[in-house]
Subunit: 140 residues, 2 copies
């Protein structure tokens, strides 16, 4: 019988705890009217927004600055077929406030790539949804 | 110095070899004019298209059937900061041809969820791009 029992919805706090466990997520946006996605390492800010560091001239900055994007992270175990996924949806913007940049200089995201110059993109956590998949075949 | 040397572009065959290594990827699409993403297990067909199985009444089917979507898979090692990502972009459609369905009944994707009724979605691999991240800080 088909039910959604295999999935358990996660509340916001559970979502944020899962997000804090992984270093890499995926920015989902629109580029030239087509769906686009870029995996990138991230950190969570204290207000639960997602912080990324990238090159100021990057395609990512041009595509997402000022727009609503989704940010997805997940973890799956193919043996037990269990896992979780969390999606943050909200407006993305380059951080420009000097006090914010100063604050984030220590705790903010680093890039996994060497960047001579970089900007921080903040994705507001306006909507945070997630679900946990609990041994899908155990109920089959 | 910033270069893209940390990234190596993957050719189509390399992309497909990486894709074949992982059971789960992420469908990236548009839902109510917003970017949307759903992790799901998949298999590659012999023509390198991506095959997913889901419920016929799912939001995913309504959102992607007949539209161009992206499908992303990746693998990262946070210790060495190495990894890879592959993105397939192409038209998604529910498989309806009886001969195709018969052919895929054995080799096609299974769902990680119990489904009483299901459809197979095919994402054509019209554009396949990928990159490998080789010890990003080794060049810093």
């Amino acid at each position: 019988m088909f039910t959604d029992d295999a999935f358990r919805s996660l509340d916001r706090q559970e979502c944020l705890r899962f997000l804090a466990k992984v270093p890499v997520g995926r920015v989902v946006y629109t580029l030239r009217a087509l769906p686009a996605v870029l995996p990138i390492n991230f950190v969570l800010d204290t207000d639960a927004s997602v912080l990324l560091r990238t090159s100021p001239g990057s395609e990512l900055v041009r595509a997402v600055d000022g727009f609503v994007v989704a940010f997805e992270a997940d973890g799956f175990d193919p043996v037990t077929r269990t896992g979780w996924s969390v999606i943050v949806t909200g407006r993305a913007a380059v951080v420009t406030d000097p006090a914010e940049l100063e604050r984030l200089s220590g705790t903010g995201p680093t890039s996994w790539m060497p960047l001579p110059d970089s900007v921080i993109i903040r994705i507001e956590s306006e909507l945070v949804t997630g679900r946990e998949l609990q041994g899908m075949y155990s109920a089959a």
